[in-house]
C-alpha cells in the first residue's frame, strides 16, 4: 500500500509548481492553469486523507465539491479574461494595471 506521506509529497510538489506558474507567467490563461494545479494538489490531499473516512466520505465528497467549484471558477475566470482581452487587447496581467494608485 502507498503511504499517506507519498501522496502528500506529490501534492506538495504539484502545489509549488502551480505556485511558480501562477507567479511567473505573463498570460492569464497560464496563470489560470497554475491555479488549477494548486487546486488539484489540494484535491489530492483531500483524497489521500479521505481514505480514513469510510462512513461519511467527507474527503471524497469535498474533493467532488472542490472539482465542481473549480469548474465554476474557471468559467467565470475565462469570461473575465475574454472581457479583459476585448478591452485591453492583451491578457498579460502586468499590462492591465489601470487600477494602480
Amino acid at each position: 500500500m502507498i503511504s499517506l506521506s507519498d501522496f502528500l509529497i506529490v501534492s506538495a510538489g504539484l502545489f509549488c509548481i502551480g505556485l511558480f506558474v501562477t507567479l511567473t507567467k505573463r498570460n492569464a490563461i497560464q496563470i489560470l492553469i497554475g491555479i488549477e494545479l494548486m487546486l488539484n494538489a489540494a484535491i489530492l490531499n483531500l483524497i489521500a486523507f479521505g481514505k480514513y473516512d469510510r462512513f461519511t466520505n467527507s474527503g471524497q465528497t469535498f474533493a467532488l465539491f472542490a472539482i465542481v467549484l473549480a469548474a465554476a471558477t474557471t468559467a467565470v475566470a475565462l469570461a473575465i479574461i475574454l472581457n479583459v482581452y476585448k478591452k485591453y487587447k492583451t491578457i498579460d496581467p502586468d499590462k492591465t494595471d489601470q487600477l494602480k494608485d
Binding site: T24, I29, N40, F65, A75, L78
Partner: protein, 182 residues
C-alpha cells in the same frame, strides 16, 4: 515493489514532470495540452488513493469541461497576441523569475519539512479510524455511500454549490455577452 507502487511512482513522476513542463514551456498551446497529461496522471493517482469516482469525475469535469473551455478561450483570444506571448519568454531562469523560484522552493521545503516531522500513523484520528475499520479498502464500492451522503449529510453544501454553479454560469454568460455600443 508491487505493481501498485510501481504505478504510483509512474503516475507521480508523470504528474510532476508534466507540471514542470507547464512551468517551463515556452509554447502556451503545448503547455495546455500538457496540462491534460497532468490531469490524467492525477486521475490515476486518485484511483490509487481508492477514490475511483473522484477520478472519473476529474476526467469528466477537468478534461471534458475545464480544459476544453481553456483551449476554447485561448483560441478565441486571437493568434497574434499568443504569438507575441510565446516569443517574449526566452530563458527559464531569469533575474525576474528568481524571487518566484525562491518562494516556490522555500514553500516546498517548508511543506516537506512539516511532512517529515509528522508521524502520520501516530495521529490519533488515523489510529481511531483504523481501529474502527473506518478505512476504505481496495474492493469497496463507495459510490452508493457518496450518493447517500450527498443527499443527506452534505445536502446543505450540495445545494449551496448548485446555487453557486448556477450563479457562476449566469455570471459568466453575462460577463462574456457582447454588449451593444462598446
Amino acid at each position: 515493489m508491487t505493481m501498485v507502487q510501481a504505478m504510483f511512482y509512474l503516475m507521480g513522476f508523470i504528474t510532476l514532470a508534466s507540471g514542470l513542463f507547464i512551468a517551463i514551456s515556452k509554447n502556451l498551446v503545448r503547455s495546455v495540452f500538457m496540462f491534460f497529461v497532468t490531469l490524467m496522471a492525477l486521475a490515476g493517482l486518485y484511483v490509487l488513493a481508492l477514490a475511483d469516482f473522484i477520478a472519473i469525475t476529474q476526467i469528466v469535469v477537468y478534461v471534458g469541461g475545464i480544459l476544453v473551455l481553456i483551449v476554447f478561450a485561448f483560441m478565441l483570444s486571437g493568434r497574434e497576441t499568443l504569438a507575441n506571448l510565446q516569443q517574449q519568454q526566452s530563458k527559464f531562469i531569469r533575474i525576474k523569475k528568481l524571487p518566484a523560484i525562491l518562494l516556490a522552493v522555500l514553500f516546498f521545503i517548508v511543506m516537506i519539512n512539516v511532512l517529515f516531522k509528522t508521524n502520520f500513523d501516530g495521529l490519533p484520528w488515523i489510529q481511531q479510524a483504523i481501529a474502527q475499520k473506518n478505512t476504505i479498502g481496495t474492493n469497496d464500492a463507495m459510490i452508493g455511500n457518496i450518493g447517500v451522503g450527498l443527499m443527506t449529510h452534505y445536502l446543505l453544501p450540495f445545494e449551496a454549490i448548485s446555487i453557486l454553479l448556477m450563479m457562476a454560469l449566469v455570471g459568466a454568460a453575462h460577463i462574456s455577452r457582447k454588449e451593444k455600443g462598446i
